[in-house]
Amino acid sequence: MRMKHIALLTGPFDWDLALLPREEFETRLAAIRRVAAGRGVSCLLIHGHSDEHGALGYVTGFTPKLGPAFALVPSQGPLRMIVSGGSGMLAAAKRLTWVEDVRPLRDLKTGIGKALADLAAPENGPVGLWGAGAMFNRTYHAVLAASRSFGNPVELDEPLDALRRRKSRRERELVRRASQILSRSMGVLAESISEGAGARTAALAAERAAFESGAQDVRILASARNGGPPQPFVDPADNRVNPLLVCLAVRFAGYWAEGLATLGAGGGALAHARAALSAAVGAARKGATAGELSLAAASQLSPYRPHPLVRHGIGNGIGLSLEESPILGPDSEACLEEDGVYTVRAGAMGEDNGNDNAVASAMIVVQATRTEILWPAIEQPEATG
């Protein structure tokens, strides 16, 4: 789900050794280096910015707050990070990662060029890029200019993103904890609404609850009218809305959990959305395709239409990014993988501009023989694998 961008992240993002020890990163790094070596690159340049930094976080634990940040992974030897901000700001930046060599990045082209020259040699192969798809246009062109002496860079988003799809035991535990925070936060939101609070007040209460439970980040979209689609809060209006469709995402130790829910009086749409979600989750198993999940959900919707929130897909992978591969589009051939963590969504819509609309979702982990539901916004499905 695309959520509202936040100007500056303020939560507890410092690297926590107890939650993600160094050996977890070393295991990842070894796998990444194998892929990079197979592609013949001399150095891997990993990019992230404040809104999308899943690749960078996977390798370094680092969360960029001020602008683009990069990790340079030479074929052997220590990593280096170059991060937006002045030298006086490094003390805070260094707390965000296990990487010891963290340097300030003022000018993109010269900063990246110098780091590449320090760590790699053009004769050993081109530069590999990861996280390039999220680069701003100006960042991308600065990277091209800085790496020109190495020849055309090799984009490795696809093979390296594949490493992120199957979550380690430790990662699954962190998503589980994020889902528990989601549960508490959504509970507070529902309670506030049931006590008559406006949507804005309830969202703020939910946000507070999430932060008190250890969340790093919280994003909320909610209806601005009865049964309206979830929207960002862009003005101070604090409307009492019934039903309230909400999308709430929380992040813990880098890992996201996302939940869609319909609070208040549920009409026929809610029953259909829940049935659609149950059917989709019931169809979720190792090897199931996005199309199979979509068909299962669609079979429960009539006479309602798919809610606009789910028209582009029934879900996606989730973890260090709120939306990571695979995107479970209706025509997608992507399969659910063992140890993959997914958000699965369903939504039903009645008449145009009416209020009989509903959304629901679940956070799931696909395992070899069963599907675990981490965040149940639905009645437990009867069949899970």
């Binding site: 695309r2 006086g88 700001m89 003390a91 501009n353």
Partner: protein, 381 residues
Amino acid sequence: MATVAERNDRLAATARRMAAEGVDLLLAASNGFHFLDRADAVVHLTGFRSLGESLLVLRADGAAKLLVTPAYDAERAAAYLALCGGRFDCLATDDLAGALARELAGGGAAAGPLAAAGFETLPHPLAARLMACAGKELQGFDEALFSVDPRKSAVEIERARRATAIAERGFERLVELARPGIAECDLAVAVNGYMKSLGADDNFLMLCALPHNLAVMPSSTRKIQAGDTLLAELTPSFEGQFAQICRTVSIGQPPAILKEKYDLVVRAMWAGIETVRPGIPMSRVCDAIDAVLKDAGYGEYCKPPHMRRRGHGLGSGSAAPGDVATNNSTRLEEDMVFIVHPNQYIPETGYLMCGEPVRVTAAGVQTLSRRTAALGVIPCE
């Protein structure tokens, strides 16, 4: 209805500028990010802040269509369009490039030159697809776009006032909550939440504390201690308009040297603010601040790496007049809004922050804050 009139004026003025430059069609893009000191082409022209990437297709005859992502934001976009009196058409989509291709095909491809603004901050694969849809080279129009009307509108100024009031109350809350033992990030989250409860929709809140700061930094999990100097840059956005105040707080009774040096940077700030008036180049504001600090013997610290700018414009629409910096020759105009903040590293005390948002008036300048910077003190037992 002032918003509608102002928006129409800005769109019409931009269309006139396009015509004057022989540009047939402008693609003004937004990446959906909220930057406190950078301009957003779509917000500038339409006032609409998209969740995802968006594009305003503006023709030289003034016809305009707004393409927004994601598709599920259609209802909000349509409601906004209605507020704007239907001045431009709107389409919500999950495929911005496809929508642009259809728009160009349906509305008639422009025969003459095409221009673009905001493309540098789009994700590069999307920028490439949009450029391919345009089918011809896009002339850069960022500078021209924001120079057409660099002043804040009456509505934007009122929003800046509201944001400033929220920032000031946020600072009061910060002083109530700050104490030894609280983590920087917990304090930042609490103050941020409080400002949201007052109506802020976003915040660029930098907050950190050390006995000797080298700069202001994003909050960490470090616990605040007695003897720290706490720095805070409170930057709430109200209905999309950012405003900022910069403050410094001593955790425990401040030593005499801290009081003395803080008085110095506050004097430097006022020297800058009192220089502000229409017609002068922005560089003169920076020069006035620098002069006070150079007189006190800190000339070495008035240049990089210690100092880059003494303030900046405040987004989300136009961020004119840009940085308060010695190399900014932008002439100040009435109703420009920006922050003046000396925010100086002093070797004896570390980095110190004070800053106020100001509006350029016909007579000179007006600060938007009611209580201006003074060294805060958190008593410690």
